[in-house]
Structure formats: structure tokens, C-alpha cells
Homo-oligomer: 323 residues x 2
């Protein structure tokens, strides 16, 4: 039996991951038994052996979780970008300190085991670790210079995880997710929410606001790709990382105009007509700082894969998430 | 009057900085009044208005220091690389958490002042934030991938300082020092200690061990340059940093053979004969991970300067530090 913990298991990506594991997505791993940890869970949802409810800032609870000797620990939980920016204290309290507490707990378990317990730790970082000005394509050796507290917190967690792994206390690394698109369900408060909205709403017969110029270019992967990144990360040979334990994930670079053309091909002009341009200065200003394109050679060489056209990304939404 | 705090003010670089300030090194700043903070102070030493003794891990003391509203705060203190590697707990306890406590204290003081108090914070980071494989010259946009806990701790402090500065709580940035050479006084336990030893010992008529091949290339600046970086950092217009608040300092790239040739030119064959090759596998292995050369264009454009030959570096030792 392989004990798996998903911190943030109630969230969108956590649920996709749990469902994928239940469907055999960790095929080389024997008898995965999944524990989901989150602040709460919607009814129904992905199958799991156990659902635990709690708060990441409860350090006693984190220590207790760490002591349970999970074989694989996914850490997906965080305060989202916009909230970490508006609530500085909460962002750091949730996005930095609990990761440290988790790592320290895992080190204690490692030491108590005489060094035999070395859990795999997979952390979801983000392209928010980057800040402009950017080259046309961001290569694997480009610096992290975050321009949000969320991005800064991700850099710090990446750095701690890499050092605990280098010392052999854990075997872990960080994957930097593209913007996940098309997100199912309702719009969230992220400034980037419209990238999903302009596709999802029209496919559901609902109007969507487009707050930026259609020339804006961005970096996307589907929720299905995010779940696949995570299962691949758990089974990949981490010795191949050679001391660089934060990986830019593959994705698809396209403009909003290209997104809209793909929507037209898949769902016709009627769907496109539901997109209402309504420029929003704030979102345009924030969006000016977003990465546009990557060259994630290392991740590709390590076997990570994403979509190669926005048509495919829409198709994934239709197959996996259309209500 | 300008209130200046030097955390780590008892150390070699802290003392050089205090002496430089006392000699008018902050010429554009009116009436600098220097407080030195460290675990202890040697007798004599650089002039200061106040010497405070304490431990960085005493968070109440750090909060108290932060509340004293210094105009300029230099944070130079840390557990050195070798010790942070052998004593994992101590390294993180001293090199990460106190910086957070300091920043939080400064934020409280900023907020209590209604936003008018925005101290300048200058943090000494290190080229230890980098990890190989390297390009021939490390450019300003090269990633941080530290291969020591010390380097990881420096990355984390840099990232926190940049975010607190971005939010306007402080006005701060980090300078990544080259290896400081020729260090005065006794050899320390750093693996890189021999870079100074093979020059300093012969100039004092004493034998020195060379533990690596003389083809090893490394990145150096003098103690005088380190102090000049720090005074320039305090007077420079930080708006020119444009959101990238960690700077690779200028330095001199040379091989050990080039160091030895410079010593021969300055002090003759008799001095060179005091260098005894004695290969040390451990030091050679660690040294294989050190950066060799940089292209610090941003720092140079911002007015930072270092030596342009190793002869000059030896000359600085003769002028400033030869007993």
C-alpha cells in the first residue's frame, strides 16, 4: 500500500488529482490510498480513503500530519494570488510558514526512522515566481523575481523544499504550473479568471466579459494536464533533476484572439458573440506583468506533457467538465 | 542626524563599513550616527556611537531594534556557509528567521508612523545563491539554484526583502558579494579560506597550504570594495532597481595561478615559495560547485565598482591590513 496525502485536496486541482489517482493514474505505484486535507470539502467529489478538515496555520496539526509517514505528499494548498496581495499577513501565514512546519515535521520523521523514511514531496509552485521584463520565451535558467507576495512565497517554499531534498530528508521538487484553463465552475477572484471565463461562459450559453485587449498573450494548460503533471512527478526518477528542483511545466502560449478563434472553431460564432469586450484598467495593468511564453526544455525532457493547441484545451473542458 | 544600524557590525566587513562611514564614506548623508550590533566585539575596532551585544535569535531583541527607527539598516550577520551546512538547525535559525522578524518589526514601525517611516535596508547576500552548471559568465538574469543551506537562506532573505520593499514597507535590496579576498587576520573555517590564505600568509612570511589545482577560477573583491559597495548601496537611487532587488556585485575573475603570479610581481619568488600545494579532495569537490565568473552589468550601470586586477587586490591588503 502507498499512502498519499494531498494538502489542498478539496480544491479544483486536488480533486482532479484524486480522481486521476482513483482511475489508475499512478499505475506504477501499488495500491495508492489517498488522504485529502483541506479547510473543507464540497459534497460528492473525488473518491478518497480519508478526508481531513483543518487549517494549515495550525502547526500542531501539520506536525501530526507529517508524523503519519505518508509515502507521497502533494502540497497544493495556498491563498490565491489576489488575496495574498490584499491580505499580506494571511498570505505569508498560509503560504510560507506551514510549508516550513511540514518540512520540519518530515525531517523529524526521517530522523526518527534512522534515515529510512524519505517521503516524496511534490509542491505546486507557479509562473508567478517570475517578473518582467521577460525575454520572448522564458528559458529554464531565467531568474525568479516575483512581483507579487504570492510569487515570493512560492519562491521561498521552492527554495526550502530544494534544500531539504538536497540534504536527503525528503525527496521533493516543485512544479511551476501555467495558468490553468479552462477552469470548471464559477469565476474566481483572480485577475486571470477571464482566460477561463471567455471560454467557459459561452460554452454554457452565458455572456462573458473580456477585460483586456485580444492581443494579450499568456501561458495555459488544462486541469487534466495539471493532474497529469502531478502523477508524473510522483513516479519520475528525481535523480534526473540534478540539483535543480523547480521545474517550469509545459503549456500552450496563445493570445486571447487565438483563444477566441479556437472557440469559434469548436462552438461557432454564436458562442463568440457572447464575449463582451469591457476593458478594465486594473486587470490590464496586472496582466502586463504576466509571463507570455516559455521554453520548458527540462520538463519536456523529463516527460511532462501539455496541450499543443487551444482547441485541445477546449476539448478537455468539453470532455471533463461541461455540466 | 542619520541613524545607522549595522547588524553584524563586529564582523570583518561590518568593521570595514563602520570605519569607512566614520571616515566620511557616506558623504551625501548628514551626520551619520552608527550603532553596531553583534554577538561580541574585539577590543578596539572601528568607531561607533553605540555597540550592542545580543543574539539574532532573540526575537524580542530584534523587535526592539526594529522599533528604534534607524534610517539605514545594514544586515550583514550570518552563520557562515560551512557551519550552516554542518549545523542545519542553527543555520536556518540564524540565517532565515531573524530577517523575517526584523522585516516584520520594521513593517510595524512603518505602519505606526502612518507610512512615513520607510527605512533603507541593505542585506549582504552572496554568490552562494547560485548553483552549477554555470555558463562561462553568470549574467544578471541567471537563476538562483543554491547548493548549500547558506545559499538557500540567502535566497529566502533576498525574496522577503524584495517583497517588503515592493509593498513600500521598507526601501531595501540585497547585494550578492563575491568571495572577499584578501581577508585580514586568521584563516577561518570556510572551504574558500585558502584564496586569502595563499596571499596573506606569504606576505606575512608564513607558509600557506594550497588545497586545489592552480587552474581553479573564482570571483573576488577586496574588503575595501565590500565596504564601498555598502556605502554606495545606501546612497544610490533605489528606483533604478525597477523591481529586481538582488544585485550581483562586480568583482575580479582569476585563477589561482593568476593570484600566484600577482603575488610574485608584488612580493617576489620568496613569497611564492611559501605556498605549499597539498590537494584536499573535500575542498576540491566543494570548489567544483563555485561560480567562476560574472557579467554584473546592472550593478556596474548602477555605479558599483571593484578591483580590475589581482595586483590591486593585493595592494589593498598591503595598504589597509598588513600588520
Amino acid at each position: 500500500m502507498t499512502k498519499i496525502l494531498i494538502i489542498g485536496g478539496g480544491g479544483m486541482v486536488g480533486q482532479k488529482l484524486a480522481a486521476r489517482i482513483a482511475a489508475g493514474g499512478l499505475d506504477s505505484i501499488s495500491e495508492p490510498e489517498v488522504t485529502l486535507f483541506d479547510m473543507g470539502f464540497a459534497e460528492g467529489g473525488a473518491p478518497a480513503a480519508e478526508r481531513m478538515t483543518g487549517n494549515l496555520t495550525d502547526s500542531a496539526l501539520i506536525a501530526e500530519l507529517a508524523a503519519r509517514k505518508f509515502d507521497i505528499i502533494y502540497h497544493l494548498a495556498s491563498i490565491v494570488s489576489g488575496e495574498a496581495e490584499s491580505n499580506f499577513d494571511l498570505g505569508w501565514a498560509v503560504n510560507m510558514f506551514p510549508t516550513w512546519e511540514l518540512l520540519e515535521g518530515l525531517r523529524r520523521a526521517h530522523e526518527a526512522s534512522g534515515g529510512t523514511y524519505v517521503p516524496k514531496v511534490i509542491f505546486t509552485s507557479s509562473i508567478a515566481v517570475f517578473g518582467g521584463p521577460y525575454p520572448d520565451k522564458i528559458a529554464d535558467e531565467f531568474l525568479s523575481a516575483p512581483q507579487t507576495s504570492y510569487g515570493a512565497q512560492k519562491v521561498i517554499c521552492e527554495t526550502q523544499i530544494a534544500d531539504f531534498a538536497r540534504k536527503g530528508f525528503i525527496d521533493g521538487f516543485s512544479i511551476r504550473l501555467p495558468t490553468i484553463c479552462v477552469r470548471p465552475g464559477k469565476a474566481n477572484l483572480a485577475a486571470s479568471s477571464f482566460f477561463s471565463g471567455i471560454i467557459r461562459e459561452p460554452l454554457n450559453g452565458v455572456e462573458a466579459i473580456l477585460p483586456v485587449e485580444d492581443t494579450v498573450r499568456h501561458w495555459h494548460a488544462s486541469p487534466r494536464s495539471a493532474a497529469k503533471f502531478l502523477t508524473h512527478a510522483a513516479t519520475m526518477d528525481t535523480a534526473r533533476l540534478k540539483g535543480r528542483r523547480a521545474l517550469n511545466m509545459p503549456g500552450l502560449s496563445c493570445t486571447v484572439a487565438e483563444q477566441i478563434e479556437a472557440l469559434r472553431r469548436v462552438a461557432g460564432q454564436k458562442a463568440v458573440d457572447l464575449i463582451k469586450p469591457q476593458p478594465d484598467e486594473t486587470i490590464m495593468r496586472i496582466g502586463g506583468g504576466w509571463p507570455r511564453d516559455f521554453e520548458p526544455q527540462r520538463a519536456i525532457a523529463l516527460g511532462f506533457e501539455a496541450e499543443s493547441s487551444f482547441d485541445e484545451i477546449i476539448q478537455v473542458y468539453l470532455e471533463d467538465d461541461l455540466p
